[in-house]
């Protein structure tokens, strides 16, 4: 019902919905400071990395430390590993933050906590490639609307992490849905929305304390209706204007990269002027930043692929990809993953051709299919969305096993974030991001019962007294979540 939806839309204005203010502000983009010394600078230079204008600097490094953990064995449980067939009556051992062993029988160290998982399921932690938590924080409203720097169609200089509010009450709710890693993206008002940030879903005073150590940045790009609507007055106001806008920026970025790479090679003379926007795009061209491209229509995705070829970068994932099924062969050939919904559609013209078999069709074509949310509520039920994808496939004769489909929630998004060597499957040596489900996660009745990140149990539905409550919730939100059964 619209009266309900309006509240939600206004509160969580992400990419899918309206994408930004209806009338673009004409305010100029403030010039980026030439030498922004950072308080969290870790380089030895007292001028700071910013003063040296090093394009690859990490001026806001992760300060994440895994929570304390004890060796934990979950046994007698069905394991969807995302790395092969399920293991019935299996066991998973977590030790020192890592998966120590997975198999039919695993010996428990004497000091291990042992959990009997009879009738329950274990999966890797759920990974959402498309989140706006923290940048469109609850309870919403203008004060917390920090996801779209809708003042200029190209803002590669903004970084989502500088908008993230760690006290967003939506974080603990995602964790309770089994989500352990999120990519927080800027919105889709702009052609170039800015840098994303990959976060662990953990309580922290600072965003730095949530940042996934070693994760690459992403660049949010957006096709189609949103940018041309938001900038209708000043341009781009058409899809061809959108494309001209991408190309103009990449031409500048290529020049910038050349200049800087030359200076970095010989360090002769003054370094070139630093440009925060170009720094991000140049790092895309160097392959250091992964492109996450909001794009609905098949023909536009094909255009974006050509633009990537023209300028020599690759697209890591198309987001929303309502029509991905129409070019599944092209996506497979290009090795681009598809971050898509199970069943959203019709909310705007470029979403009209949504089909429920999208996940199954792209999966069958050999594309890495990913169930994403773009929604604080949907993020909590990515397993249910995967279940819809399985059912839609079966309805047209594409039989995808649950053992395969769990990859849509885990290893495939891990790959899209460049983290598939660390998370996304239950394989010895990987980070112990693990969910124990009350039943088969593809059942509507299953709920995440316990969630571990790096081996530390951060959520336990059976122990509501230990539930993570954000500062905002104290006093405002009754402490009831998660408890009742």
């Amino acid at each position: 019902m619209r009266i309900i939806r309006l509240l939600v839309t206004v509160g969580t204005l992400g990419c899918a919905s309206q994408g930004g203010p209806q009338v673009a502000s004409q305010a100029p983009v403030p010039a980026a400071p030439k030498a922004a010394a950072s308080a969290t600078d870790t380089t030895t230079s007292h001028y700071g990395a910013g003063a040296l204008s090093l394009p690859n600097a990490d001026p806001y490094p992760s300060t994440y430390k895994p929570s304390a953990s004890r060796p934990t064995l979950i046994r007698n449980v069905t394991i969807l590993t995302a790395a092969g067939p399920r293991i019935e009556n299996g066991a998973v051992l977590m030790r020192d933050g890592k998966i120590a062993a997975v198999g039919r029988t695993v010996d428990a160290p004497t000091d291990a906590i042992v959990i009997d998982g009879e009738g329950k399921f274990v999966t890797p932690g759920i990974i959402d490639t498309h989140s706006h938590l923290g940048v469109y924080a609850a309870p919403g409203g203008d004060a917390l609307s920090d996801g779209n720097e809708a003042t200029n169609p190209a803002t590669p200089e903004v970084w989502a992490e500088h908008s993230v509010w760690p006290q967003d009450p939506q974080f603990p709710r995602s964790l309770a849905g089994g989500v352990t890693t999120l990519q927080v993206l800027p919105g889709s008002a702009n052609l170039f929305g800015g840098r994303s940030v990959v976060l662990k879903v953990v309580p922290s005073r600072t965003v730095q304390g949530m940042k996934f150590p070693g994760a690459k940045y992403g660049l949010k790009m957006a096709c189609g209706e949103n940018p041309k609507r938001v900038y209708a007055q000043r341009g781009p106001s058409t899809r061809m204007g959108n494309v001209a806008g991408y190309r103009a920026q990449w031409i500048k970025a290529e020049q910038y990269r050349r200049k800087w790479d030359k200076w970095l090679a010989d360090k002769k003379g003054d370094p070139p002027d630093r440009d925060l926007a170009m720094e991000t795009l140049a790092d895309v061209l160097r392959g250091n930043i992964l492109v996450h491209n909001h794009c609905y229509r098949a023909d536009e995705m094909a255009q974006m692929i050509d633009i990537a070829h023209e300028f020599g970068y690759s697209i890591r994932s198309f987001h929303h990809g309502i029509e991905a099924y129409k070019i599944a062969d092209l996506l497979a050939k290009e090795g681009i993953s598809a971050s898509i919904w199970a069943d959203w559609g019709s909310f705007k013209v470029e979403a009209l051709d949504a089909v429920r078999a999208n996940l199954a069709l792209v999966h069958q074509a050999g594309v890495r299919a990913i169930v994403h949310s773009d929604d604080a509520s949907g993020s909590q039920r990515l397993n249910q969305e995967g279940a819809k994808g399985i059912a839609a496939g079966r309805a047209i004769g594409i039989n995808i096993s649950e053992d395969e489909a769990i990859k849509w929630n885990t290893i495939n998004p891990a790959w899209a974030l460049g983290l598939d060597d660390k998370i996304g499957s239950l394989v010895a040596g990987k980070n112990a991001d693990v969910v124990l489900w009350s039943g088969n996660p593809f059942s509507v009745y299953a709920r995440a019962e316990k969630v571990w990140i790096d081996g530390a149990m951060l959520y336990d539905r059976l122990d509501p007294n230990e539930s993570w409550r954000t500062d905002f919730e104290l006093g405002f939100v009754p402490a009831t979540r998660g408890g009742s059964r």
Partner: protein
């Protein structure tokens, strides 16, 4: 509104006669039958004749002329009712085409005369996806506005809106969640405005002829809107109000009691805090189980347990989509069964959840004599599922609406078929 009500009733009588299925007898045999109005029947049979249910039970003689549908091992339920839809009121949510969801009126958010269902397009491409997954009736709910307009209950049969119409109006719909919906500045002002509207309606009812002669003081609204409010003020048509904050719920309960209004609460994010009061006032609630986000200061206590807790408190609950996203008002009307499954996961009993998407909304909106249960005399809105209807892997194998089996091909099915193998053939559907 009296004239209009009479008109609807007349139209209804004509309609059901004209759109009933051809004389045919169908027997759905041997399934696990969930009549909702009574206990589950193992190996039950349902007999349909001329679009109505004529027998339900375990030991029923199957008429010789009946078309037999084997349902052993299947689950047989009433057709599902989604009671928060904008079915047929737009083709695309945003950026093109018309939207017939919200009335404009004089801009003050008070448009009680708005009959949203009259704008429904029965040819909507969103018909097939809804009924293919077992939704057979929808409530058409006007959007926006403190008093946004009137809701109607439709069956998702082929035909005109007149053919589809079960009953109209079934509720006056509005919101007291946000003063801006009435172009007002404060919550208290909303209640004052609503009182004014009710008092003016009462005055108008007493002085219709004076009103026609311009011999009354000016009222809050014009004639058509006051007429539309008459059955609401008389307590014949429910006033369904979006209310989320506990204090708003309490204030609305007080106002409803003061004026003898038949209140329905929509949303009820913090309704769980008011369970006993709501139950005591015998006020039903429409809420969902897929939202736990304190997305505004009006809904800080939002919980997925709300439907289950209200049920435990003795409140009648109809489940509606409340998560936002995914357009469950139209594109995903079908997701009402996911809502029910989640309600069960968060504490509602399975039987209550099924009731909350069948008989309870039918009762709430005065159509329980026609839909919502598998009882003799009810319309044959029946779904045969291959397993638990709330599970994602379950299919609605057979869907009957007023006794007619639905075998739709949706636009989505056609697109899927076209792109099943690439490249597509554009001369084939």
């Amino acid at each position: 509104m009296r004239a209009a009500t009479r008109f609807s009733a007349t139209m209804l009588a004509v309609v059901i006669g004209s759109s009933a299925a051809p004389a045919q007898t169908i027997a759905i045999i041997g399934g696990t039958v969930h009549p909702v109005s009574g206990p589950m029947i193992e190996h039950g049979t349902v007999i349909i004749r001329d679009g109505k249910i004529v027998a339900v039970g375990a030991d029923i003689a199957i008429p010789a002329d009946a078309k037999r549908i084997e349902a052993t091992g299947k689950w047989v339920t009433p057709g599902l009712v989604n009671s928060a839809t904008e079915f047929g009121l737009f083709d695309v949510g945003f950026g093109a085409g018309s939207s017939d969801v919200a009335a404009k009126g004089s801009g003050n958010g008070l448009t009680p005369s708005f009959t949203a269902w009259e704008g429904v397009n029965p040819q909507s491409v969103y018909l097939a996806p809804a009924r293919d997954e077992g939704v057979t009736s929808v409530l058409i709910v006007p959007g926006g506005g403190m008093i946004g307009g009137q809701a109607a209950m439709l069956d998702l049969v082929d035909g005109t809106v007149g053919d589809m119409l079960l009953k109209a109006p079934v509720a006056m719909v509005g919101t007291l969640d946000d003063p801006s919906a009435g172009k007002l500045g404060a919550r208290g002002e909303m209640f004052a405005k609503l009182r004014e509207l009710i008092e003016d309606t009462k005055a108008y009812m007493r002085r219709r002829s004076d009103f026609e002669r311009n011999a009354t003081r000016s009222y809050a609204l014009g004639r058509a809107d006051l007429e539309a409010m008459v059955p609401v003020v008389e307590g014949r048509v429910p006033l369904a109000l979006q209310l989320n904050r506990a204090s708003d719920i309490e204030a609305a309960l007080r106002l409803a009691k003061q004026y003898g209004l038949k209140l329905i609460i929509i949303g009820a994010a913090e309704g769980w805090r008011m369970g006993p009061r709501i139950a005591q006032a015998k006020v039903p609630v429409m809420s969902g189980a897929m939202n736990n986000i304190p997305s505004s200061f009006n809904s800080l206590g939002q919980r997925q347990e709300t439907p289950g807790l209200l049920r435990k408190a003795g409140v009648d609950v109809a489940l509606i989509g409340n998560a936002g996203g995914g357009d469950e008002e139209q594109f995903n009307i079908r997701n009402i069964r996911q809502e029910a499954g989640n309600a069960v996961a968060y504490g509602m009993s399975w039987n209550d959840a099924l009731r909350a998407i069948t008989l309870t909304p039918a009762e709430m909106f005065g159509v329980a004599d026609k839909i919502g249960s598998l009882r003799v005399g009810r319309e044959a809105n029946i779904v045969v599922w291959n397993a638990d209807p709330f599970e994602f892997g379950t299919r609605a194998e057979r869907v009957f609406i007023r006794g007619k089996e639905i075998t739709d091909q949706s636009r989505q099915d056609e697109l899927t078929k076209r792109y099943r193998t690439l490249p597509p053939n554009y001369t084939k559907p």
